[in-house]
């Protein structure tokens, strides 16, 4: 692919950061960044290069109505946050579970923590619950399966970006006793994730696994490639 050319990558990333890239080209470039760590790093280098200009800008407090408008749009504020709610939350258990299990990679862990921050631990709102955390071979958390606060759907999403080439797909499998059951193909990007029926998730103690398959998924209906990630189901939503 032509984007393998480091000179071109550098030039495109430079225009992206400078701001002269036309909107449609920039949208395409946003997708490249999401998929390709080399682009990501290039953009970071350029952005760090120009950052002193923004750091030198004279800060100006925005009017309070801006924050009020943001709050109104992101949902109810946590009114009270009793410690109890935090300790009882499934998030807390899951944090310790995966923390204990993994000598976790900083990058992935940071992405997960931000993800959790963003999920909003508001005791007044219903909590999503973690169904499973899938780790890579080194034990680092790489994917998270969680159920919606209400309802019978489970979403499986990457914690940060997972790299994969266009000739392959990540395929999700349910393993509970018998042969693995295919659950669908996963996007390498953290948002929005694959949504599956909660009834398709193995019962507590079963396993969710992700294998590397040819693009489009396993041709046989059973895993054909290596299992790259797996995790025990520790709380089936049903």
């Amino acid at each position: 692919m032509k984007y393998d050319d480091p000179k071109l990558r550098e030039a495109l990333a430079g225009r992206y950061v400078l701001g002269t890239m036309p909107p449609r080209a920039r949208a395409r470039f946003d997708r490249l960044i999401a998929e390709n760590a080399a682009f990501c790093a290039e953009v970071r280098d350029w952005a760090e290069m120009f950052a002193p200009i923004d750091a030198a800008a004279i800060a100006e407090a925005p009017p309070p109505r801006i924050w009020r408008a943001i709050e109104a749009r992101i949902g109810p504020a946590p009114v009270v946050a009793p410690a109890r709610a935090w300790f009882d939350s499934p998030w807390f258990d899951s944090l310790w579970l995966w923390r204990g299990a993994a000598g976790f990679a900083t990058a992935v862990a940071a992405a997960l923590l931000i993800y959790i921050g963003v999920a909003g631990l508001t005791p007044s709102a219903p909590l999503p619950s973690v169904v499973a955390v899938l780790t890579d071979k080194s034990g680092a958390p790489a994917w998270i399966a969680r159920s919606a606060p209400h309802g019978d759907a489970v979403s499986v999403a990457a914690l940060g970006r997972q790299t994969i080439d266009s000739a392959h797909s990540f395929e999700l499998w349910a393993i509970a006793g018998g042969a693995p059951r295919p659950l669908g193909l996963l996007s390498s990007q953290p948002y929005p994730g694959l949504v599956i029926a909660a009834s398709a998730v193995p019962p507590t103690g079963g396993v969710l696994a992700i294998s590397l398959e040819p693009a489009g998924g396993s041709p046989t209906g059973a895993p054909t490639g290596p299992v790259l990630f797996q995790g025990k189901v520790f709380s089936n939503p049903l």
Partner: protein, 171 residues
């Protein structure tokens, strides 16, 4: 940022409290209008809340990531309106003194460090083009009008200037 990472909405409020004033200044500098800058800031933070899973430490510091989001939204706002080049033509933004060359801004040199030194190595007009693009979000067309130079020339100035800046800062 640790607070956001630590897991609750108050962390997000803290992130806003710390980052919003600089980001608001950046949005104002590009949109040149308070109402639009306010909208950019609001939209950016809502997007950050909804998509923070997309943040990856490989993208650099959180502030740099946020700045890129705000700058691009501000530039989009700016592009929706025409003739902005006129509105910023008389801007006395202190940073624009950078475009004038080394003698005008001895005191800002230290703050901007290596970037400033490398900008000095560019020819005056290409330097001005790069700074107008970054600082105020000028498009190629606006730069062409402002600097009375064909758009094709502007594009090659920018391309060459970016290459030189990169080499200078890497070296």
């Amino acid at each position: 940022m640790r607070r956001v990472a630590g897991g609750d909405r108050r962390g997000f409020a803290e992130l806003y409290r710390q980052a919003a004033p600089k980001l608001f200044a950046v949005a104002l500098r590009i949109t040149q209008r308070r109402d639009l800058a306010e909208e950019v800031l609001q939209e950016s933070f809502v997007a950050v809340w909804n998509q923070a899973g997309n943040y990856d430490p490989i993208k650099g510091s959180v502030m740099i990531w946020l700045t890129t989001i705000v700058r691009h939204r501000a530039i989009d706002q700016r592009r929706r309106r025409s003739n902005l080049a006129d509105a910023t033509a008389g801007s006395d933004d202190a940073l624009m003194s950078l475009a004038a060359g080394p003698s005008d801004r001895a005191d800002r040199g230290a703050e901007l460090g290596a970037l400033s030194r490398c900008l000095d190595q560019l020819e005056p007009k290409p330097r001005q083009a790069v700074l107008l693009a970054y600082v105020h979000g000028y498009t190629h067309e606006e730069l062409a009008a402002r600097l009375a130079t064909p758009s094709g020339t502007i594009k090659s100035w920018i391309r060459r200037s970016l290459e030189r800046l990169k080499r200078c800062l890497d070296g």
